[in-house]
């Protein structure tokens, strides 16, 4: 080792032994520990964005004299949406949950006489039919044809499809908003708060209500159950004039769902 090198070691404070140990590591008899595969940092988890879908929606449209009705079953086969190019209940919506409620409404009276029809939700120019048997049989092809035929006859007749006493029951949007907000504040939100959830009233159009589920409800596997058995029941009990209730939550974008 040169004198200069030795002097620099003295001034830097490192001994020749240390240097030699680094340069020529002594092989140990001890077995080397296996490398922990989990010691490395996991790759950074990226946030998944949900893009805006620009696909055209299927609707029965056209300024034609002909009455056009399109049928679109839901993915789970439980419901079928009928889109008509004529108003059925303009600016309003109504749920016929059983035959008893159909009295005086030609639309409901006619459609409840079709076998396997369980409930009817009419909103503007659309009708959603739920069938008995849930997600199983019967298939919608034949049933939709029968419902479509009955609907066409009623629309062609040109008479009012919904009973006047139902129309008279529907209050102003202000009343609907006030009543629904009260149910959300006093019943619904205290109930879902235990799971870190919250419900927000986003829109009221006529007697149609749109909500958004946030916090622990967004993306939760039980959100559909909460919506149908909890929120729908609470709304309809407190405000029986409420028609369609829509959930506009983007559940796929939920970052804090209950049970996550």
């Amino acid at each position: 080792m040169s004198v200069i090198k030795k002097l620099s070691q003295i001034f830097s404070g490192s001994s020749s032994m240390e240097k030699e140990a680094v340069e020529n590591p002594v092989e140990s008899d001890q077995p080397t520990e296996p490398k922990n595969p989990f010691a490395e940092q996991p790759p950074v988890q990226r946030r998944v964005m949900q893009p805006t879908v620009l696909m055209e929606q299927v609707e029965a449209t056209g300024a034609t004299d002909q009455i056009l009705i399109k049928a679109q079953p839901s993915r789970d086969n439980e419901q079928c949406k009928f889109m008509v190019n004529r108003p059925l209940f303009e600016g309003r919506s109504w749920l016929f949950s059983n035959f008893e409620g159909a009295a005086g409404s030609p639309l409901a009276e006619a459609l409840f006489s079709v076998e396997s029809v369980e409930t009817l939700l009419v909103h503007d120019s659309t009708l959603v039919v739920t069938k008995t048997g849930g997600k199983g049989l019967p298939a919608w092809e034949a049933l939709a044809k029968e419902v479509g035929g009955a609907l066409r006859k009623l629309v062609e007749a040109g008479t009012a499809l919904i009973a006047q006493d139902i129309v008279d029951k529907i209050p102003t949007e202000e009343v609907v908003r006030k009543d629904i907000q009260k149910v959300i504040d006093t019943e619904v939100n205290p109930g879902v708060a235990g799971h870190g959830g919250r419900i927000t009233l986003t829109a009221v159009t006529g007697n149609t209500v749109t909500i958004e589920m946030g916090g622990g409800c967004q993306g939760c596997s039980a959100a559909d159950l909460t919506l149908k058995q909890g929120i729908h029941s609470a709304f309809r009990k407190a405000a029986p004039y409420v028609g369609a209730i829509y959930d506009e939550t983007d559940h796929a974008a939920g970052s804090n769902p209950y049970y996550s």
Binding site: R46, M49, K70, P73, F82
Partner: protein, 114 residues
């Protein structure tokens, strides 16, 4: 959920572009797109695809490793088993090193006249 045989993607880049290769994830596995054409520079159009032949629980387009990537439009053509081919078109968005975008769409629900 149907079996996805293949998908093709067309990406229109907006003002801020990025660098090739373009990656996607299928069920959280990151892969580069194949059969690629075009570029992902500002204003360019890129096409690519992949032979999946499996079930897509998730399908995403991965953002760049650095910087931001303005996407004007994404069109995805799906070829799924037991379904006629269908497409999905997505609107503008910006991806970066912390994001990816969901490009999976279930086959459309059948609709018919009654």
């Amino acid at each position: 959920m149907p079996k996805l045989n293949r998908f093709n993607i067309e990406i229109e880049t907006g003002e801020r572009g990025t660098a090739l290769p373009v990656h996607f994830t299928i069920n959280n596995h990151k892969m580069p797109l194949e059969d690629t054409q075009g570029g992902v520079g500002a204003g360019e159009t890129f096409t690519g695809g992949f032979e999946i032949r499996s079930f897509a629980h998730s399908l995403t387009l991965v953002g760049p490793e650095t910087g931001q990537w303005d996407i004007r439009k994404i069109k995805v053509d799906f070829d799924c088993e037991q379904n006629p081919p269908y497409s999905a078109v997505f609107g503008q968005l910006t991806l970066d090193e912390t994001t990816e975008v969901n490009i999976w769409q279930d086959p459309p629900v059948p609709t018919w006249d009654v």
